[in-house]
Amino acid sequence: MNSKTIQNRGESVLLPHQLDLIDRFFNPEAAQGLLVRWAVGLGRLHTASHIIARQLVLKPDARILVLVPAALQSQIQFVLDQRGIDSLIVDRFRFREMQEAAETVQAPFGTGRAFLMSTEFASRDDIRASLGTVQWTLIVVDEAHRVGGGKREGVVRDLVEGSPDVRLLLLTIPGIGRIPHFGIQQWAETELRRQEVMDSAGRPIFGARTSVLLPLEYRLSEHEQLLRREILNAVRLAQSEGGTAHTLAHIFERALRSSPSAVEAALRRLRNRLAHFDTGTFQLDEGAELSEIATISAKGTTAAFERLGVCIETLNSVDVDSKRRAFEGLLTEKLDKASMPPAMCVFTEFRATLHYLQAVLDELGIESRAIHGAMPEREQTQAIHEFRGRGGVLIATNVVWSSGAELGAVDSLVLYDVPRSEIAQRQLLGRFNRLSQDRVFAVHALVDTTSVPLVSQEAVGALATILQEDAL
C-alpha cells in the first residue's frame, strides 16, 4: 500500500496530516513508540487502520493487538474491515473458542490478523498471561489516557517487555497530561489541533470556530435543598451499614445534581441491593469512572430501608424542579424565535435523566429523539441520522462521544449535566466540531448556584478554557 496515494472511497480521503503520520510511523528511523495527540475528529483511528493494513502488507505474519474501549470495538472492526484487515474481537467466549482451536490453551493468538479487545479484559490475569506468551509486532492503544496507572498500564508494559521489537502506537487527544511510555525508551510524539489541519493545497480546513458559552444558572428552592440533605443522610446511614462510605455519597451527589429521576433510580437500586443482600459493585451508569464504583458488602438494616423508602416517596411527591424550570425557560426562549429549535443536543450523564427529559419535552409538546448506551446500535444510528436530517432535539448520554457520532450541524448544545472531567468535556465538544463546521455554536451549561463547593461552576470554567483554545 502506498500512503502517497490518497485513498478516495467516496467519503473517506486521507488528508495530508494522516499521510504524514503513516509515513512517519514507517520511516526506518522512526522511534519504537509513537504518541498521537490529535483533536477529536481528525481521524486517529482511520489513520491507525491504514497503519495496521500496511503493517500486514509488510509483514503478513504480524501479530497485531488493538486495545480499545469495549463500546468502540465493533466500530473499529468495521473500519478495519474496510481496509481488508482480518480482525477478531476477543471477549471471554471468543477466547475460549480460540483456546479450543489452538494447539495450546496458553497461546491461542495466531498471526496475520488484528486482535481487538478492551483493556479491562486484557487486564484479567489469565488473558494477560496468555497475551504475554507471544511476540507482538504492533500494539495500538486507543484512548491511551485511560490506560495510565494500575493493572491496565501493567498489561501494556508486560507486553512491551515480552516483545522487544514491538511497535507501539498510542492514540489520545491534546491537552491530556502524562501518558505512560510503558517502558519504551525511544519515543516520538505528535500533537495536532483542528486549526493546524491543512488540506492538500496547504489551506486550513477549519476556520476559527465561533463558540459561545452561556451558563444557565438556577438556584434550588428551600424544599429541594432540604430533600437533598435528607437523601444524603439516608445514603450515609445505608453506607455505614452496607457500602463504601466515601464512594456512595460521591455517586449520589452526582445523581442529585442531575435530576429527580437519576436520584430515584439511584435510591431504588441501593435499596434493592441492600434488601437482597446483593453484594458486589454498585454503579449508576455505564460511563462510571473507577472512583465512582462503590462496593456493597453487607445487608442493610430496617432503619436504612425505611429512610431510603421515605426519600423515594418524598421525591415522588415534590413537583418543584428548579433545574428543569431553567431548562424549560431556555426551550421557551428558543421556541419563541422558531417553531422548533433548529438542531439542539441535550447532554446528560444519566439514562434516567434522559428519559425524564424526554417526558419533559413530551409535556411541552416538543418532539425529541434520544440515544443512550443501552440502545441497539442500529437504533442509535437511526436516531442520529433522523436528527441530522430533520433537526429538533436530541437527548444523549455519554454514548454520544463513545459511539463516534458526527453532530457537526448542531447549533446548540445544552449541558444538562456538565461532564465532570476535562477529557470527557473535550471528547464531547469534539463531536460537535467536525470538518466543515463553521457555524456559531452555542453551549448552554446548567449551573447550580446553591451547592457549596460549586462543583458545576468549576466544570464550566474548564469548559470555557477548552472553547477558548479551539477558537484561537
Binding site: R44, F78, R268, E286, E377
Partner: protein
C-alpha cells in the same frame, strides 16, 4: 473526511453485517455461553495437601477443583471425591501412611470427569451434571473451564427472568389501569392520547389490543393524568420517564433487539419492585390482602 464515525446509512448497514458475523457464535445457547464469562479457572497440583485444597474450596466457595500436572488434567478433587475415598480408608491404611487424611495429597482422592467442547449443545452435558455434579470444558491436555449445575441454573435464570418480570410488570400495569378507569373512560383516554398516532377510526379500545407504549401515552397525557395520579405516584414526569424506559427495555427483550445485560436485569427488577409497591398500596386501600 475521517471515517472513524458513522456517516451514512450504507455504512451503518455494513457495520451491522460485520457485527452479526462476529456474533454467530453468540446466537446459539451452546456450552460456551453457560460457562460464566468471568470464570477464572483455578486448578491445583496433584501433590497439594487435602487440607490446603479444602481450604481453597472454602475460600472460593467452589465444590470441586481440577487437578492438573503440567498441562495434563488428572481429574477433579471435590468434597464428594474426598468423602468417597476417605470413607474407604481404615485405621491400618492411615497408620501405614503415617498421615492424617488432611495431610495426604489430593491425587489420592481425585475422580474422573467427562469433557465437553465449547460448541456442545446443552442437553449433551445433562447426564454428566447429574452423575458427576459437573463437567470439564476442553480436553485432557487443554483445560478451558468447568461447568457446574449452579452455572446452568444461573444461566437459565438470567435468560428467563427478564421475560417473567416484564410479563408481571405489563399485567400489573393493565390491572392498575383497569382500577383507575372504566372501559368507557379508557376509550375516551385512548382517543385523547392515541388519535394522532392511529387516526380516529383505528384507535385501539381494549388494553389487550394496546401496546406498552400506548399505556404510557394514556397515563402520562395531561388530561388523563388526574385519573392515574394516585396509582403510580404523584409526579407525572417521573412516572412518564419510568414508563418510557420500561417500554424500551420491554421491546428490547421481547423483540430480541440486543443482549440483555446484568444492569438491565437489575433495572427491570427495580421497576418490578416499583409496581409491586403500588399494587400492594392499591390493594391495601381497597381493603384487599
Amino acid at each position: 473526511m475521517s471515517d472513524e464515525h458513522i456517516t451514512d446509512d450504507g455504512a451503518s448497514d455494513k457495520l451491522e453485517a460485520v457485527r452479526a458475523l462476529d456474533l454467530v457464535s453468540k446466537l446459539f445457547h451452546q456450552v460456551n455461553r453457560v460457562v460464566p464469562a468471568d470464570q477464572q479457572l483455578l486448578t491445583i497440583p496433584p501433590e497439594m495437601a487435602v487440607r490446603d485444597a479444602i481450604a481453597l474450596l472454602q475460600e472460593h466457595r467452589f465444590s470441586q477443583l481440577p487437578v492438573v500436572a503440567g498441562e495434563r488434567v488428572l481429574g477433579v478433587f471435590s468434597y464428594r471425591s474426598f468423602a468417597h475415598k476417605a470413607a474407604r480408608l481404615n485405621a491400618s491404611d492411615i497408620t501405614k501412611q503415617k498421615s492424617a487424611p488432611g495431610d495426604l495429597p489430593v491425587e489420592d482422592f481425585v475422580e474422573t470427569f467427562e469433557f465437553a467442547s465449547v460448541h456442545d449443545e446443552m442437553p449433551k452435558v445433562f447426564e454428566s451434571m447429574e452423575n458427576d455434579n459437573g463437567i470439564l470444558i476442553g480436553s485432557h491436555d487443554k483445560l478451558i473451564g468447568i461447568l457446574t449445575p449452579m452455572d446452568f441454573l444461573r444461566y437459565l435464570y438470567e435468560l428467563a427472568s427478564p421475560f417473567v418480570m416484564l410479563s408481571e410488570i405489563e399485567l400489573t400495569l393493565r390491572e392498575l389501569i383497569r382500577l383507575a378507569v372504566s372501559q368507557e373512560e379508557l376509550e375516551a383516554c385512548a382517543i385523547l392520547s392515541l388519535e394522532n398516532l392511529y387516526g380516529a377510526e383505528k384507535v385501539p379500545k381494549t388494553l389487550e389490543s394496546m401496546t406498552f407504549d400506548n399505556y404510557r401515552m394514556i397515563i402520562s397525557h395531561g388530561e388523563s393524568w388526574p385519573k392515574f395520579q394516585g396509582l403510580l405516584g404523584s409526579n407525572r414526569t417521573l412516572v412518564s420517564g419510568k414508563l418510557r424506559e420500561l417500554c424500551e427495555l420491554r421491546n428490547d427483550v421481547f423483540h430480541f433487539k440486543r443482549e440483555i445485560k446484568a444492569a438491565d436485569r437489575e433495572t427491570i427488577r427495580e421497576y418490578r419492585q416499583w409496581l409491586l409497591f403500588h399494587a400492594r398500596k392499591t390493594e391495601a386501600r381497597r381493603g384487599g390482602m
